[in-house]
């Protein structure tokens, strides 16, 4: 069988790519104290997936469109109102999950909620690779400004960083990676795949460089280990991937700096 259409190869390729990307972005989400944003916005993907399934278009597109709407809404709330965005975000996203559960066609509901990487095709793999590379390229451009603005928004601005623009780009990238990751771990667990590897990396890093690299590495390893284990035990890969990252987190606690 051609390796490009080999299901296991595709699972590893997509899983590891997403793991690396989610871990990498997650490190910046932790820096920006946005740990729960991934969790909250991934829920919004569900109605998007549902609408895409109903109209028979690629669910990734539906999910991404819904996530785009969500991040624009978050960005707008952050910028324009002084309302406690936590509360609004919580309400808005729980509601969209409820709507999504109602309108997602029953046979696909479980897959949407928990992902199913075993059904990945060559085209999905290609989209994942290309978009993840784009995500990394954009991050290389904006990561300095993002980190500086964590320390002090004014300091970053005084260095010529457009804080509002880089925050918005960052949210877009989160939407992108979350949409891509839904195939792997689904709506419910995507938030964990973004945060757990990064939280583990933070336990044992002193420097930013170590933190980011380890975070991406733990994400990739979680995906690799999780898919291997799930195949071996004949279990659903999504939850096993997340549990693998959880195991790494527990291990790093022993060596916490």
């Amino acid at each position: 069988m051609n390796i490009i259409t080999n299901p296991l190869f595709l699972q590893f390729l997509v899983g590891i790519t997403i793991g690396l990307g989610a871990g990498y972005l997650g490190s910046f989400m932790i820096l920006k104290r946005m740990s729960l944003v991934g969790d909250a916005i991934s829920h919004v993907a569900l109605p998007g997936i549902a609408v895409a399934l109903i109209f028979k278009i690629n669910p990734f597109l539906g999910a991404f469109a819904a996530l785009l709407l969500a991040v624009v809404a978050i960005w707008f709330l952050e910028k324009k109102t002084n309302l406690p965005s936590e509360t609004l975000v919580g309400i808005f996203f729980a509601l969209s999950l409820a709507v999504g559960i109602l309108i997602t066609p029953q046979p696909e509901l479980l897959e949407a909620l928990f992902g199913d990487i075993t059904k990945i095709g060559p085209f999905d793999a290609l989209i994942t690779l290309v978009l993840t590379v784009i995500m990394f390229l954009v991050m290389f451009k904006i990561h300095r400004g993002l980190t500086l603005s964590v320390i002090s928004k004014e300091l970053a601005q005084s260095m010529g960083v457009n804080v509002s623009k880089s925050s918005f780009l960052f949210l877009l990238l989160i939407a992108l990676v979350v949409a891509l990751g839904l195939k792997v771990v689904g709506v419910f667990l995507m938030g964990a795949l973004v945060i757990v590897p990064a939280a583990a990396a933070k336990n044992i890093s002193i420097s930013l460089g170590d933190f980011i690299k380890l975070s991406a590495f733990f994400g990739g390893i979680s995906a690799l280990g999780g898919i291997l284990l799930a195949n071996y035990l004949n279990l659903h890969p999504g939850p096993i991937v997340v549990l693998t990252s959880g195991a790494i987190f527990l291990l790093t606690l022993l060596f916490k700096k």
Partner: protein, 237 residues
């Protein structure tokens, strides 16, 4: 005072959503001045510095002399103990050359090169003491040899003894490098000791001139809304 103005401010006003924060400010600074900005909490002092940096929209005129390079130490910075960022990485956001970083650290009084290379640079920024972080921020802001340093005094986190040495340090740096300093201070003793010029701000300009002349009980009462006890307290130290 001699020399040409390095900054001229005319009729400066700042509004946030129809809420007037500053209005009708006029002042200038000459080269190598130390200008202190004083005023009660919420008087718009930090906003004034941000306006001078062009970070907030304003009305009126802010004219810096051509080609002026500005260094800035903000009041608020968020450096937690658990922020994974080493001192070296923090400097490298601005300057890649190690020898320049080391020389900036030396000029803020962290002089032992072995200590810098092995203990300071590889350390998490958030693990340093408040006073050390302040020194690091000053080193960071002067690493590219600014002509003017804008220093917004932190309201918390630094003990009084530490505060005193930070101002000694600023004065030493100013004397060595001949830059101009604009500082916000809550402590009038600091102003008397280090500034040659002061502006009192409470939304508008309450006084402007040399500290010993303009900081009289009447203008302080006006500035702090009659809380002259604050003024007296500061002098009893």
């Amino acid at each position: 005072m001699s020399g040409e103005p390095i900054l001229t401010v005319e009729n400066l006003g700042v509004k946030f959503d129809n809420n007037e924060v500053l209005r009708g400010l006029n002042f200038f600074i000459q080269k190598e001045d130390v200008l202190a900005i004083v005023g009660p909490n919420g008087a718009g002092k930090s906003v004034l510095l941000r306006a001078l940096l062009g970070l907030v929209p304003y009305s009126g005129k802010i004219n810096w002399a051509p080609g002026i390079k500005i260094g800035y130490v903000p009041q608020k910075f968020n450096i937690d103990k658990d922020l994974p960022l080493s001192v070296e990485e923090f400097f490298k956001f601005k300057e890649k050359k190690l020898e320049k970083i080391i020389s900036a650290l030396k000029s803020v009084g962290i002089t032992d090169e072995h200590h810098i290379e092995h203990h300071i640079l590889k350390q998490r920024l958030g693990w340093l003491s408040g006073g050390q972080i302040q020194r690091i921020l000053i080193a960071w802001s002067i690493i590219d040899n600014p002509d003017v340093l804008l220093f917004d005094e932190p309201t918390a986190g630094i003990d009084v003894g530490g505060e005193e040495t930070i101002y000694n340090l600023l004065k030493k740096l100013k004397d060595e490098r001949g830059f101009t300093v604009l500082l916000i201070s809550h402590d009038l003793n600091i102003v008397y000791k280090y500034a040659n010029s002061v502006i009192c701000v409470n939304k508008e300009m309450v006084c402007h001139g040399e500290p010993n002349t303009v900081l009289d009980p009447a203008s302080l009462a006006k500035l702090y809304g009659g809380e002259t006890s604050f003024y007296k307290h500061e002098h009893n130290h």
